[in-house]
Symmetry: C2
């Protein structure tokens, strides 16, 4: 449970403490992000969360299922494709959809989730994927790619299966992937003029949208087909 | 030594076999990329490379120095900033410089080095940096950033310390970072229409240059300063 959600839960029910299950999930996320699936033990997770030794089996049915639940929780905190799809569906024209898509990614990166175990765990999994994660990651990446592919196809007038559309999706998504994988703080060390805190969400979103629209317009112009070239 | 360099070395001196030092460096790269610095032992590296147990100390002065040499070798194979600077300096106008910069990154990603231990080792280090790598990485990233910052500043007419220039550098470099970190094969699984082999170098370079120029032109138009807005 993220700090923000804990605060929200506390507002709704001031005396409610996280359940043993929630506490285990949070502790397991921290332990897995530090040691990986292979390096973590149920014993340590139970001890660190103050639960008895059988709690992982009782609440999750074992370490593999606990790990899958932790990965799902990490995904849920970091702009999952369902949230991206919902944000995009609220808009009617492709430019507004692109703004919604990019805006959600920028807000997630600038929010509290970006400095928690969730990012470290997914980064670790992206570099050396476990079997459990491989299917989840492929499904999630394909879902994100499908949402953006459709927007890019509309904006450029190119068919969804045009390689230029796929390449453009990489152009648009890659900065967020890098910021997640290497962390905003380390990007700020390379570019001291930048900041990715909540105060820069608007500037960063405007920049990313503008760069994407300019890039897409240039790609549409380059394409052999006449297409509906975008003007920014 | 990369496969390409081994082939080249063999052409020049057909009977020359890799020296013990070269062989140790290659084996150490493989072992470190599989197990990390903490998980690797000098014993295993010496055994796997067929050298005697004292070879690491004799040739490198110890495991830390061997690890530093391996990181330098990995960097050398993956378009180091010196190569990028040299490629850019041969060109006179900023657009040609951008093409040279991007072209070298695309060729490196499509070349044999992209499937060797060098990428895996640097990916591992980027996610959980060792103290040895931290300084090297910061220096390398700043050197790359400086080269691209200067090109982007020229193309947009914005000062080198404008945040929009820094953000644009991230836009341009991020796709290569992602392709290196998660690997071309896994990107191809998300976008089956794409391929990053040697046969696609030209298409990929043209796309990346065009998208970058279009994005930069849009950023120059957005900027409050009049600036020398680029037209693609």
């Amino acid at each position: 449970m993220s700090r923000r959600n804990i605060v929200r839960a506390q507002r709704q029910a001031p005396r409610r403490r996280p359940s043993t299950r929630e506490q285990l999930l949070e502790t397991a996320g921290q332990v897995f992000s530090e040691k990986g699936f292979a390096g973590a033990t149920g014993k340590e997770i139970c001890e660190r969360s103050g639960a008895n030794a059988a709690a992982v089996v009782y609440h999750f049915g074992g370490m593999e299922k606990l790990y899958a639940a932790v990965l799902q929780e990490a995904r849920r905190r970091l702009a999952p494709s369902e949230d991206l799809a919902a944000a995009v569906e609220r808009e009617t024209n492709p430019k507004a959809k692109l703004i919604a898509f990019i805006g959600l990614l920028v807000r997630t990166l600038s929010g509290p989730a970006s400095s928690t175990w969730a990012v470290r765990l997914l980064s670790r999994e992206i570099i050396s994927p476990s079997a459990i994660f491989d299917e989840m990651r492929n499904k999630e990446m394909r879902a994100r790619a499908a949402i953006l592919t459709s927007i890019v196809s509309e904006l450029t007038g190119l068919p969804v299966d045009d390689p230029a559309v796929a390449r453009s999706c990489i152009n648009i998504m890659a900065p967020f992937g890098i910021l997640m994988l290497i962390g905003p703080q380390r990007v700020e060390r390379v570019f001291p003029v930048l900041a990715f805190g909540p105060e820069s969400v608007e500037d960063t979103t405007r920049h990313m949208v503008q760069f994407a629209l300019g890039g897409l317009a240039a790609i549409a112009r380059l394409a052999p087909q006449p297409g509906a070239a975008t003007r920014t």
